[in-house]
């Protein structure tokens, strides 16, 4: 007779059909997770590839610097060759990349809506990919950033007002050096709402009046081989540059190598970290599902113990049975991975792409096959599923055929029944159910915990941003901080203002160096009895004694008496300050000293100052003399941007978490009820009503869910707060993760909602268990 196929294989489709609700839930759960992560991998890789290709195609800079005055040909040549440096400098080619920061009024209502950085059209460096429309040809035509246009509702053909001049929008573009709209390199977050980059013709550029930023982009003559080489090249270049600039009697205003430019790197770095986070999330969810599968299989094996014993006694090997029980989770995962990947390459990729296009200004992309995505979303889930289940099934299959035949699968033998307190019969019954299902409840707890970590993010992020935005007024010590280019104008006359609110102050940026990042710290010199920064005894502090902002203290764990060491950004000079106290009205990382001490520490000339603090707008200072104005927008823009790009997703994420909680609780409570089907059936025979049975079996689970929910709210928030700290530590700036009391209630409530949905199904399931179930002896 022809050797027949293993008939146990035929159980698999029957099992799938017989328990289709469970497998459908697991399948959909995996498909959606795998699909989304696969889509994320494919979209990321495709977009990163096109971004990388854009580096050459659109002539992306290797870095840029800004000079106070326009450089002459001699200086430019010296910088390019490094000829005046006393060491072997990095050779480069320089390109003018001048811009003006103008006021944008996109709805033409006469009010400033944001800042627009206008570049003249060039063919040499930092080109733009035109996504819609065409490049400007006339003096009154402008092409603006596509993402900003999408976010504020500008379309090709609209007009925008730039510092009073009207331009027609002829194109929507993506500059190769502005994949995110970071106004400054020190900005923690980009700002696609109130910051824009634009291209005009040279004539169009000349129509504008704000001061020109003399920015020069460079390309290395010899491309550095790696990141370390890039750093060395940049360090050498900057050392030489500083010498050349001083010799030419010019000043370096800004220096940003490509690797330190968030406008270039943020998007690709963020996509990379999204990918890593998505991957970890997928692994965690697959492991949870794997454990749910393992517990299900473990219960099935216990239920089919006699049949397994008979099969083993008949000569079926352990391996054959292990493979049989292992096949279901592996097949379901593999199918889910295949379908998930198909959806990943089609539907989910587009969702992720639109998410990224909503936040990043990226060039057009084309989808590329991604072996990483295949490995991460197909091979890894299958392996995880296989390993977790293999361990559990192999352990179960260690029992002898005789043990299977005798249903003797408990690890501990002759276990005595635990004595319970003298509670009511129902109370003790519930306690027994809890002890019986300890493993299921543990998995339930772990699952709820992971969901709560995600919920902490989904609820905590909007809470944190809301708190941050609603408290900004209290965190701004002045509504305007005017930082001047110099305290004297071109005629060497001291700059003054008639504004009654105005108060002189000093400010500079120093760098706090750490292994993770070199972070800019604002150092303020504040007038005695200041109306804006009210710190008692500030003037009586010793030369190097300072107050620091609470954000600064919080981020670096500083306390009173500690010494802070800060460095000059572009010079080899260090300062040490002793912390004398904290100032809580500043969200930025800042350090405060008296204006006199400031002058001494930084060797300022008498009466030299950086600018004015004011609660009202200063109108009598020539714009040409103002380097920058820090307003409330600068403080809130990060929160605004985070809220805009992630806020709406957080609502979806909250719903996803409720569904996740429901799915997981459904799968585990289903197991608990199935395990007790005979007992439930028997209680029905004895005359118990469905309500009473539900109060026994469902209330036990309810108690566990509520306790797990409560504990997980606390643990999940702690974990998320720690993750938030770790995440923000590698960024410049700081704000603490916060969850409001309502937020905690939401987190608790969302999991409970998930459970309540499941409870309805569970009650139906209990109602459906027939009374003859307990009397059947068929397996």
């Amino acid at each position: 007779m022809k050797k027949i196929k293993n008939p146990l294989i035929r159980r698999i489709p029957k099992e799938l059909i017989g328990d289709w609700k469970k497998y459908l839930v697991v399948f959909l759960f995996l498909v959606l997770t795998i699909g989304f992560v696969s889509g994320m991998y494919v979209a990321n890789e495709s977009m990163i590839t096109s971004a990388n290709e854009g580096v050459t195609k659109y002539k992306q800079e290797d870095g840029h610097f800004e000079l106070k005055k326009q450089a002459d040909a001699t200086l430019l040549s010296a910088i390019e060759t490094g000829e005046k440096a006393d060491f072997k400098a990095t050779k480069t080619t320089l390109y003018e990349n001048f811009f003006r920061n103008e006021e944008e009024d996109y709805n033409n209502d006469g009010k400033k809506d944001g800042t627009i950085r206008v570049f003249a059209k060039t063919k040499d460096i930092n080109l733009a990919c035109m996504l819609q429309g065409s490049f400007p040809q006339k003096a009154d035509e402008i092409a603006i950033d596509r993402m900003h246009a999408d976010n504020v509702g500008i379309k090709v053909g609209d007009t925008v007002t730039v510092s009073g001049e009207t331009y027609k929008v002829v194109g929507l573009l993506a500059y190769v050096n502005y994949s995110t709209l970071h106004e400054k390199t020190t900005d923690l977050m980009f700002d696609a709402l109130k910051f824009d980059v634009a291209m005009v013709t040279q004539d169009g550029f000349d129509r504008l009046h704000k001061s020109i930023h003399y920015t020069y982009a460079w390309k290395y003559e010899t491309e550095p081989a790696d990141e370390a080489g890039e750093k060395t090249s940049s360090d050498n270049f900057m050392r030489a540059l500083l010498t050349q600039v001083v010799v030419a009697d010019n000043e370096l205003e800004d220096y940003t190598p490509k690797y330190g430019n968030p406008a270039i790197n943020f998007a690709t770095d963020d996509m990379g970290s999204d990918k890593a986070m998505g991957g970890v999330l997928l692994d965690i969810l697959v492991v949870i599902i794997a454990f749910i599968f393992a517990v299900t299989i473990s219960n099935t094996i216990a239920k089919e113990s006699s049949a397994i014993g008979t099969l083993r006694a008949s000569g079926y090997t352990k391996g054959e049975l292990v493979r049989h029980y292992l096949s279901m989770p592996v097949i379901v995962t593999l199918l889910a991975a295949i379908v998930g990947n198909i959806l990943g390459y089609t539907v989910f990729k587009n969702i992720v792409v639109s998410m990224y296009y909503n936040s990043y200004s990226l060039p057009t992309y084309y989808t590329i096959w991604n072996p990483d995505a295949f490995f991460k979303t197909t091979v890894v889930p299958v392996i995880l599923m296989l390993v977790v289940n293999l361990i559990v099934i192999v352990r179960m299959m260690q029992h002898t055929p005789l043990q299977f035949l005798r249903h003797d699968l408990k690890k501990t033998k002759n276990k005595k029944a635990m004595r319970l307190p003298g509670w009511s019969f129902f109370g003790r019954f519930r306690l027994r159910i809890m002890f019986q299902n300890v493993t299921n409840y543990l998995i339930l707890f772990v699952g709820i915990f992971f969901i709560m970590v995600m919920l902490a993010m989904a609820v905590g992020m909007p809470d944190t941003l809301d708190y941050y935005k609603s408290n900004t007024d209290g965190m701004m010590f002045a509504k305007y901080q005017y930082v001047l280019k110099s305290y004297e104008d071109d005629d060497n006359k001291r700059i003054t203002t008639e504004n009654k609110d105005a108060e002189k102050f000093n400010m500079t940026s120093l760098v706090k160096k750490s292994d993770v990042l070199d972070e800019e710290i604002s150092v303020y010199g504040i007038a005695d009895n200041s109306n804006y920064v009210k710190i008692k005894k500030l003037s009586s502090l010793k030369k190097n004694e300072v107050y620091i902002s609470t954000s600064f203290a919080d981020k670096y764990g500083l306390t009173v008496g500690d010494t802070v060491s800060l460095d000059e950004k572009y010079e080899n000079k260090s300062y040490k300050f002793k912390v004398a106290g904290f100032y809580d009205k500043s969200q930025s990382l800042a350090l405060f000293m008296s204006i006199d001490n400031y002058g001494k520490v930084f060797d300022l000339k008498e009466n030299e100052f950086s600018g004015f603090l004011s609660d009202s707008r200063i109108t009598d200072i020539d714009e040409e003399n103002i380097a920058t104005t820090i307003t409330i927008r600068d403080i809130t823009k990060m929160a605004d941007q985070l809220d805009h790009s992630m806020g709406s997703y957080m609502n979806y994420f909250q719903i996803l978490c409720i569904l996740l909680a429901a799915v997981m609780i459904y799968l585990l409570t289903k197991l608990i009820i199935e395990k007790n089907e005979n007992a439930i059936s028997m209680t029905k025979i004895l005359g118990y009503e469905n309500k009473e049975i539900a109060s026994l079996y469902l209330l036990s689970t309810s108690i566990v869910v509520v306790i797990a929910d409560l504990i997980s709210v606390i643990l999940g928030t702690l974990v998320m707060a720690a993750a938030w700290r770790m995440m923000l530590f590698s960024y410049s700036g700081w704000f603490t993760f916060r969850v409001t009391p309502i937020g905690y209630a939401k987190m608790f409530g969302f999991v409970l909602i998930g459970y309540l949905i499941v409870m309805v199904f569970d009650f139906q399931r209990i109602k459906k268990i027939p009374m003859d179930q307990a009397l059947k002896n068929v397996e």
Partner: protein, 238 residues
């Protein structure tokens, strides 16, 4: 019949006990007998006489403390767990008091579970006719009566045409008429396929249909008789 065929299954000084110290209980106290090839042997005895333990040791799913079992020249004691599994796979069929069928496989598929283990399996449709289950072959176990389910379990054991069919109280859970049906089936299988059958039972009446009757009490063989007045299962009464 050759000497080897007469000693197809040989049990030599087989001992087995459970527990230790004062709670130690000797279940098999040095058991010796042999069963000939193709013989229908009944192990008879009251509860606790050691008959099921003996059957399990013969089936290689339990171990003796001392002594050995020789089946067709192979000593079970010398076999590793893997070899024992292969041995069971090739040479043994098992029928238990409870049918232990796979709930979501139909009658035919449950029998195929046994057939899969053999390179020389019987024709399943033929067997289904023999078992009287051909009309029920697409039914699931829970659609069958107890007797029908036991037929399926016999079919599953016999389909691989084992050298020895071990039956542990196969009629223990069945009523009189159904029990007789099952015994007739086992008799028919024995006659048709020539398998050696060892059946454990506490039903004295069944000894009458056996070729060889071994009575156990307190872990020892009390009677070892060859039945010369064998009657057919049809004529059994109890």
């Amino acid at each position: 019949m050759s000497e080897e065929e007469k000693k197809f299954l040989e049990i030599v000084d087989l001992k087995k006990g459970f527990g230790s110290g004062q709670t130690r209980q000797e279940v098999l106290r040095g058991m010796n007998f042999s069963v000939a090839k193709g013989e229908f042997c009944v192990l008879l005895g009251p509860s606790g006489s050691g008959k099921s333990t003996l059957l399990n040791i013969i089936g290689g799913i339990d171990n003796a403390d001392s002594g050995y079992i020789n089946i067709n020249g192979d000593k079970l004691e010398d076999m590793s767990e893997k070899k024992l599994t292969q041995y069971r796979r090739k040479h043994l069929g098992y029928v238990f008091q409870m049918y232990n069928l796979i709930g979501n496989l139909n009658v035919k598929e449950n029998i195929e579970v046994g057939a899969y283990l053999s390179d020389n399996a019987l024709d399943i449709d033929d067997l289904l006719h023999t078992l009287g289950l051909y009309e029920h072959r697409y039914k699931l176990p829970n659609q069958l009566s107890g007797g029908q389910q036991q037929r399926v379990s016999i079919g599953r054991a016999i389909v691989k045409n084992p050298d020895i069919l071990l039956c542990d109280e196969p009629t223990g859970a069945l009523d009189y008429n159904t029990s007789k049906e099952i015994l007739k089936l086992i008799e028919e299988v024995n006659q048709k396929y020539g398998n050696t059958i060892i059946m454990v039972t506490h039903n004295e009446a069944i000894k009458n249909m056996a070729d060889h009757v071994i009575k156990l009490r307190d872990g020892a063989v009390r009677h070892n008789d060859i039945n010369t007045n064998k009657v057919s299962a049809e004529d059994l009464e109890w």
